[in-house]
Structures are given as structure tokens and as C-alpha cells.
């Protein structure tokens, strides 16, 4: 029998599929529901110090080949979120926190005051393409910014730190190395692409209220694969490959490019909430056909 379990950042995980941040991650109950539907680990929706309303609706649309979102980091703020995400053992699988801020101090504050050892790790997206003050719109994607923010968090928490990168980074290798050298334990490659824009012809207006939004889903998979491939060449820390995975085949492709775990978000739209189980079943089927016993064997296989 093909074995999907693996060790990631010291934790034993039953399969490499992790719920990506921002999809079905508003409540603990929803995370538990995702685990019931087959995910090996889950990531909470990103939390900031202060409560955020986010952008007006529409915040998510789809187009012929993918999805676009500009949620704008809506979240209830640190206090309500701490209450929401307590007793995480009830979720049934490792939970990754996700924290955001506009300056290194914010991240340090979040690390100190929000995190707890109930989380398996903390993920830090420095790569959102559609929220002013955050991510690439705030220059958080440069090697310097990444180094400083990672360091600031590292001083305040013992949790493994996962830095989530933007596929737009001009020199991904450098950017990933900056995270590694500042003490990050893993890279999440990566966030949404673009941003993109879809215009409604009748009104001649962009549809998303923020006009532009990060692109996810099938449209972005090949570029994500290349990004993972580049990061794998540059750093030794493990990678969560995220972006456009819809099937077991896609997940295996990400792992061959260098991912140890595979993030899944938009696929919930295309294949329903049981997509986590579906992907795992498809991976097992492929592994059995190919004679691969443990999923850990194929990590980085495309580099050989």
C-alpha cells in the first residue's frame, strides 16, 4: 500500500495535503470539517492585530481558467481570533497559524501575543498582491524585508516559521535564501499570482471591488511548479508547494518539483470540499501504479 504519511517540521502528518490559508479558514469548526474531508494539515485565515473588514464584495470571482480574489485580509483581530482558535486539538490534524502585519514590529507583536504551542507552525505571507499595507504592495517581498520580518518573528516564538513567497519575486532563489538565513524552517511557494483584473463589459468596470485580485487555481499551476523548482535549487529547508493544485497528479508534480507538502485552496471550488480526500486517493493510485512506496521518495525527483 502506498504510504502518504510524512514528517514535516518535526510533526508526523498523515498526508502531504494542507489547506491553504484564506479558504474555509475563518473558524475552527471549518478547519475541523476540512480535516474530516481528508486534509493532512490546515492553515487558518491570516490574522492581524486589529480587526479588519476587508474589501467590499465581490471579493472572489472566477474566470474561465481560474479564480481571482481580493478579500483584503478581513479578520476579527487578535483577541477574537485567539478565542476562535483555542483547543486546536479538536481540529484533528496539525494547524498552521498565519499572521500578518505592516511592519516587522507588528509581526513580532503577533508572534508574541497570538501564537501558542497548539499550532504546529506559523506561516507568514509576505506576498499578498492585493491588500494595501501588506505583502508585495508594501514591499514585504524583497530579500531585506523578508530577512528582517523573519528575524523579528524568530525572536518571539519557538514555532517553526514558514515564509510564504510571491511567484512574482524577480529572484526567487535570493528571496528564499533570505528567509532561510534569517531562521525560517520552511518556504510556502506560494501566494496568488498577478494580480489580475476582469472587466465587466456592460458596465465597463472591473468586477472585484478592489479592481484587481490575486489569481489562483488551474491557471497558475505551471508557473507555481517552476517557482518550486527554483526554490528547491536555492535552499535546503522544505517547501510547501501552493498554487493551482486540483488533482493527485498535480500534487505529485509539485512534489517532484521540490515540495514536501502541497497547499490546496481553490480546488475546493472546482471539486467540492472532499477534494482533499480525492487528491489523496489519486496520489495513492498513481503511486501504486508507479511502484512508489512512500510519498517522501518523490520529493525533488524532477531535479535528478
Amino acid at each position: 500500500m502506498a504510504n502518504l504519511s510524512l514528517t514535516f517540521l518535526g510533526a508526523k502528518i498523515k498526508n502531504p495535503i494542507v489547506l491553504a490559508s484564506g479558504i474555509l479558514g475563518v473558524t475552527k469548526a471549518s478547519l475541523a470539517n476540512v480535516v474530516k474531508n481528508g486534509a493532512g494539515a490546515v492553515t487558518i485565515k491570516s490574522i492581524s492585530k486589529d480587526k479588519r473588514k476587508g474589501h467590499n464584495n465581490p471579493i472572489i470571482i472566477t474566470f474561465e481558467t481560474g479564480m481571482m480574489n481580493a478579500v483584503g485580509y478581513s479578520n476579527p483581530g487578535i483577541d477574537a481570533a485567539k478565542e476562535e482558535f483555542a483547543n486546536l486539538n479538536e481540529v484533528g490534524a496539525p494547524v498552521f497559524a498565519s499572521i500578518i502585519g505592516t511592519a516587522p514590529e507588528d509581526f513580532a507583536y503577533m508572534a508574541e501575543n497570538f501564537l501558542s504551542d497548539e499550532y504546529a507552525a506559523v506561516e507568514v505571507p509576505l506576498s499578498c498582491p492585493h491588500t494595501p499595507g501588506f505583502g508585495t504592495l508594501a514591499g514585504q517581498g524583497t530579500p531585506e524585508a523578508i530577512f528582517n520580518i523573519t528575524k523579528a518573528i524568530k525572536e518571539k516564538t519557538d514555532l517553526p516559521i514558514i515564509i510564504k513567497l510571491s511567484p512574482n519575486s524577480q529572484n526567487l532563489g535570493e528571496v528564499a535564501k533570505a528567509a532561510e538565513s534569517a531562521g525560517a524552517s520552511a518556504i510556502n511557494m506560494g501566494n496568488t499570482h498577478g494580480p489580475g483584473m476582469v472587466i465587466n463589459l456592460e458596465t465597463r468596470k472591473p468586477i472585484l471591488d478592489f479592481k484587481v485580485g490575486g489569481v489562483s487555481g488551474p491557471a497558475i499551476r505551471p508557473i507555481t511548479v517552476r517557482c518550486i523548482y527554483d526554490v528547491y535549487k536555492a535552499v535546503k529547508i522544505p517547501i510547501i508547494g501552493t498554487g493551482g493544485v486540483n488533482t493527485g497528479r498535480d500534487a505529485i508534480e509539485m512534489m517532484m518539483a521540490g515540495a514536501s507538502m502541497v497547499g490546496v485552496g481553490t480546488a475546493v471550488y472546482y471539486r467540492g470540499i472532499s477534494v482533499f480526500k480525492q487528491i489523496c486517493d489519486e496520489m495513492k493510485e498513481w503511486m501504486e501504479g508507479a511502484g512508489v512506496k512512500s510519498v517522501e521518495e518523490i520529493i525533488g525527483a524532477a531535479h535528478e
Binding site: 484564506g22 479558504i23 474555509l24 479558514g25 475563518v26 473558524t27 469548526a29 471549518s30 478547519l31 475541523a32 470539517n33 476540512v34 485565515k45 480587526k51 479588519r52 473588514k53 476587508g54 467590499n56 464584495n57 465581490p58 471579493i59 472572489i60 470571482i61 472566477t62 474566470f63 474561465e64 479564480m67 478579500v71 478581513s74 479578520n75 476579527p76 483581530g77 477574537a80 481570533a81 476562535e84 476582469v198 465587466n200 456592460e202 458596465t203 468596470k205 468586477i207 471591488d209 481553490t266 475546493v268 471550488y269 470540499i273
Partner: protein
């Protein structure tokens, strides 16, 4: 005209007609066959303003209606629009009401705003040959919607108001209990204020009568991705596994009748 949708983007339709139900309610009529079922909702886009969920309150061969109560910024803006102006329609979304194959007598309960979605259900029930017992409740006469329309249909109606200004004085729950004593009801459907829904659900459960309830939660995407509408402790998505649920499913929820979350995910008491 069949309205076709390939992607989750609004389709622009002109407002064909506006019916002023009363001082707080307007019904907006659009042309086209939406293919919706009773209990389903659409996301309504006022371009560059916002997009919010509204139930289909009626549907014919070539028209569909939504019935809106003015409660805040978005609905106020909507009330300013005139016939001919373009609105974006996305959907229909969600799990609809569904009739059991056997069971002639159905009780349909609508409280306040909740009369809108069940209006469509009443028409559907009639067309399927059901005997409909409708119970409508509101705080007072002025807030009632669709009462005359429903009265004109082949339906047994009873109306209640908190102050007795229309129909009997009392609550829908009282009317429902009276009905259940008189008639053998095979299935109950309800939409309205959540406290009322809890009470109705309990009445049905106690008596072992199948009951479907439509509930509301803050929605953003409307199609099961953002997680904003998930309920405790099951994590079910109101936009996708709902908005219509079996009463038992809802009564088992920790948050049903107790609290909900706003657009940031912050809990609010109900």
C-alpha cells in the same frame, strides 16, 4: 431567455419592474429564466458598491423576483435605483427546499423578511399539487409583505402580528401549534427570525414532523470558498450546504439561535 452562467461573475440585467410592497420592502423584477429553486439565493451586485445575498421570492417562465427590506447602506442604495438600471445577478446558489415524495399537507411558515423566499415555495408547492397551509407573521400590519398575493392563492392562510394589527395577535409558533392539532401535516418549511426558527424547529422535532429551515449568515463569496458563512460546530457552509437545512441539523448547532459572525468573522449575539 435562459440565463447562462459559466463563471462566478455577475450577469447584468436591467430592472424590469419595481413593486413597492410597503414602506420598507421593494420587490425587484428581472427578465429571464434563472433556473432557480425555492430557497435558493442570488448574489446581487450594485456595480462598484457591493454585492449581497438575496433570496429568489418568485420565478415564472420569463421573470424572477427578489424582495428586499431596507436595512442599511446597500439596501438603501438599491432602493434608489430605477427601472431600466443594470444590476449584476450571480447565482442561483445554495441548497433549495425539497418536498418529500409522499406527503400532501405542507405547512409553510414565514416570519417578516422570511416571507420572501417562502412565497416562491408556495407557488412551487401548489404546482406540485400540495395542500399548503401558510402561516405568516410580522410585528405589525405595515410590515407585512405578499399577504394579499398569498391570500389570492389556493392556500389555507393564517396571519399573526405581535400587536394584532393584522390577523390574530400572537406568534407564528402559536399558529403552527394550532394547525398541527387540527390537521395532519406531513412536512414543515420555515424562514424568518432565527429565534422563531429555533422554536419552530423544536415544535417539528417534538412531533416527529420533517422540517426544513432556511437560515442566514454573513456571506461573501456565496459559493463555498471563503468560509465566512461556516457555522459552529459542524463547519457547514450556509451558502453551500444551506441555506436550507433539516431542522435537526440546525438544532444540533452550537450557534443556531445563539450567535453569528459579521464580515470580519467577529461573533455577535443573536
Amino acid at each position: 431567455m435562459q440565463i447562462q452562467r459559466r463563471v462566478e461573475q455577475p450577469i447584468m440585467l436591467p430592472i424590469k419592474k419595481i413593486i413597492e410592497d410597503n414602506k420598507d420592502f421593494k420587490t425587484f423584477v428581472f427578465e429571464g429564466q434563472l433556473g432557480a429553486k425555492p430557497g435558493q439565493f442570488i448574489m446581487l451586485w450594485i456595480p462598484r458598491v457591493n454585492m449581497k445575498p438575496f433570496s429568489i421570492s418568485n420565478q415564472t417562465e420569463d421573470e424572477f423576483h427578489i424582495t428586499v427590506m431596507k436595512v442599511g447602506e446597500f439596501t438603501a442604495k438599491l432602493f434608489e435605483l430605477k427601472v431600466g438600471e443594470l444590476l449584476g445577478i450571480q447565482g442561483p446558489y445554495g441548497r433549495p427546499f425539497s418536498f418529500k415524495a409522499h406527503g400532501e399537507n405542507v405547512a409553510i411558515v414565514g416570519g417578516g423578511c422570511g416571507i420572501a423566499p417562502v412565497n416562491f415555495l408556495i407557488y412551487d408547492a401548489i404546482s406540485k399539487g400540495k395542500q399548503v397551509y401558510f402561516i405568516g407573521g410580522c410585528r405589525n400590519k405595515d410590515l407585512f409583505i405578499k399577504a394579499d398575493e398569498i391570500k389570492s392563492l389556493p392556500v389555507e392562510t393564517s396571519f399573526v402580528t405581535d400587536d394584532g394589527s393584522y390577523g390574530e395577535k400572537g406568534f407564528t409558533t402559536d399558529a403552527l401549534k394550532r394547525l398541527l392539532e387540527k390537521e395532519k401535516i406531513d412536512q414543515i418549511f420555515a424562514c424568518g427570525p432565527e429565534k422563531m426558527l429555533v422554536a419552530i424547529g423544536k415544535i417539528a422535532l417534538e412531533r416527529g414532523i420533517p422540517c426544513q429551515i432556511s437560515m442566514e449568515r454573513y456571506m461573501k463569496c456565496g459559493f463555498g470558498v471563503c468560509g465566512q458563512c461556516c457555522v459552529d460546530d459542524t463547519g457547514l457552509r450556509v451558502c453551500h450546504e444551506g441555506p436550507v437545512f433539516e431542522a435537526r441539523t440546525l438544532l444540533d448547532l452550537k450557534e443556531f439561535g445563539a450567535y453569528k459572525r459579521d464580515g470580519s468573522g467577529t461573533k455577535q449575539k443573536i
